[in-house]
């Protein structure tokens, strides 16, 4: 399913747009003009990567020091250990669309516990 995110003109380079679905997905517009979509939640702890430090094709979690590669979802260093999902992005008529990955998301333990109804 292709989900409309936002218009490309409304997402300046160096910025991110968060799609408030469950789990949330974020679209990044890099300084080089490329557009990527990855899961928005850091796999280490509940933090929004859309709030993070975007540099090149990497976003650093806003809380700690792990960086995720927007192209592959891979993480470079602790405290996060698992990658985020990447999602296919298409721009049509100036609109950014996201096709959600069918893989299971790698959510942090506290979020998994909350979704399961356990203690956060």
């Amino acid at each position: 399913m292709m989900i409309p995110a936002c218009r490309l003109v409304d997402l300046p380079r160096g910025e991110a747009y968060r799609l408030d679905i469950d789990p949330p997905v974020s679209v990044f517009h890099t300084d080089d003009g490329e557009v990527f979509a990855i899961d928005d939640t850091c796999t280490h702890q509940d933090a929004s990567l859309a709030d993070g430090w975007l540099e090149g094709c990497e976003v650093e979690c806003p809380l700690h020091a792990s960086k995720f590669d927007l192209r592959t979802g891979a993480v470079d260093a602790p405290p996060a250990k698992r990658p985020v999902r990447t999602h296919e992005v298409r721009v049509e008529d100036g609109m950014i669309y996201v096709r959600l990955s069918l893989d299971a998301p790698n959510l942090p333990p506290c979020v998994t516990a909350r979704l399961a109804g356990g203690p956060a």
Partner: protein
């Protein structure tokens, strides 16, 4: 360089080992750690792990499929370094000779004199410390935290959430004034009172009362605070005693250049035990932050492998975080350099603040409480200005 010994198997040591492989070192890699545990993450020890929300397996710093092709000597303490030979002597009498040595022995919690062997008294630095404290907190009761710094505040916050009766005693008039300055130290430490945790400032601790188990904390003003559990959070000292006689300069940690190089060829120091030169401030300082232990080994390993042939790149401004009472606290830069601090966004009563520290009008530090997005922007700006 054929053999590199990394002394210390926590975040700084692991990061150094990873950097070595990433930067192409293909020789023998020996990692020496005095704890029996594989490298684990310490920040959760005062928070999620202590609260029981994270298990030990969640603390592992290594990836499941990671193989650094290292020899791990765990549960053995380094007791000496022969500087010219670059030989690390171990407590079991053996020795590791290396062409390069990375010193990453960290810091140890300071204790109160005369409290050894008194049950109910804890420090919090290692996984074993955290296990012991967690087991006692589970029994409930009255907790007194000595020291209102970040470790003390996080333990108080966690224990409060677990339902304990908590008192924090701090010798300084304002907790956190060192790292955050008076104004913001006051605002952040107000989180205690906002949640019904007693905070007593400006009074020192004279000692503890109790025969086999602690019963009370005795204050210098004559008061005594009843306690079932006491956590001593009064800072840490660098673990460098073992380096006496090695030829290294030791002054509040191993004295290093701006890239971790020491005065001995082939020896670098990283993490909490290392006092790096800060070219911007023109002085040496020991940075006890997770982020420094994670990032700085990259530069030190570059210097080690290049034999000093590369210029160090400027490190990012120091960054640390804390979680207290559900509030995410973030800080970057140096508060001590500032002549003003202003709250630019949010309101202190909402625990939602972005404060910028300036010197002669130029930003030198930034503090966020539940402001991750704005904080990141300011942090980037600080790094760009540096």
């Amino acid at each position: 360089m054929r053999t590199v010994a990394v002394v210390g198997a926590s975040l700084a040591g692991l990061s150094a080992a990873r950097s070595l492989r990433k930067q192409g070192f293909d020789g023998r890699l020996v990692v020496i750690g005095d704890e029996l545990h594989r490298p684990y993450d310490r920040p959760p020890l005062s928070k999620e792990f202590l609260a029981g929300a994270l298990a030990e397996a969640d603390l592992a710093l290594e990836q499941d499929d990671e193989d650094l092709r290292a020899e791990w000597l765990l549960g053995v303490r380094a007791v000496g370094l022969d500087g010219p030979q670059r030989a690390v002597r171990l407590a079991d009498g053996s020795e590791v000779r290396a062409d390069g040595v990375v010193i990453a022995t960290g810091a140890a919690a300071r204790t109160l004199p005369g409290t050894d062997g008194l049950a109910g008294v804890h420090t919090l630095r290692t996984l074993d410390d955290a296990r012991a404290l967690r087991d006692e907190l589970a029994l409930g009761g009255r907790l007194v935290v000595i020291g209102g710094g970040f470790i003390g505040a996080e333990v108080a916050s966690t224990a409060y959430a677990l339902g304990l009766d908590v008192t924090v005693v701090e010798a300084a008039p304002t907790p956190l004034a060192g790292p955050l300055g008076e104004t913001m130290g006051g605002i952040v430490s107000a989180l205690h009172a906002d949640h019904g945790v007693r905070l007593w400032c400006g009074v020192g601790v004279k000692g503890l009362r109790g025969e086999s188990r602690v019963e009370a904390v005795l204050l210098e003003d004559g008061r005594s605070v009843p306690a079932d559990i006491v956590v001593v959070g009064v800072g840490a000292r660098p673990c460098v005693e073992w380096l006496a006689g090695s030829g290294l300069a030791l002054d509040d940690g191993v004295t290093c250049g701006a890239d971790g190089r020491t005065r001995l060829a082939g020896v670098v120091a990283v993490g909490d035990c290392a006092s790096w030169y800060d070219p911007r401030a023109g002085l040496h300082r020991r940075v006890e932050h997770w982020t420094g232990a994670r990032e700085r080994p990259d530069a030190a390993v570059t210097a080690l492998l290049a034999g000093g042939a590369v210029e160090p790149s400027a490190p990012r401004p120091p960054y640390f975080w804390s979680d207290q009472y559900g509030v995410k606290i973030q800080f970057a830069g140096h508060a001590a350099a500032a002549d003003s601090v202003t709250i630019e966004e949010g309101a202190r009563d909402d625990h939602n603040v972005l404060a910028v520290y300036r010197r002669s009008g130029q930003p030198v530090a930034v503090l966020g409480m539940n402001q991750p997005r704005l904080f990141t922007r300011w942090r980037k700006q600080l790094a760009a200005a540096a």
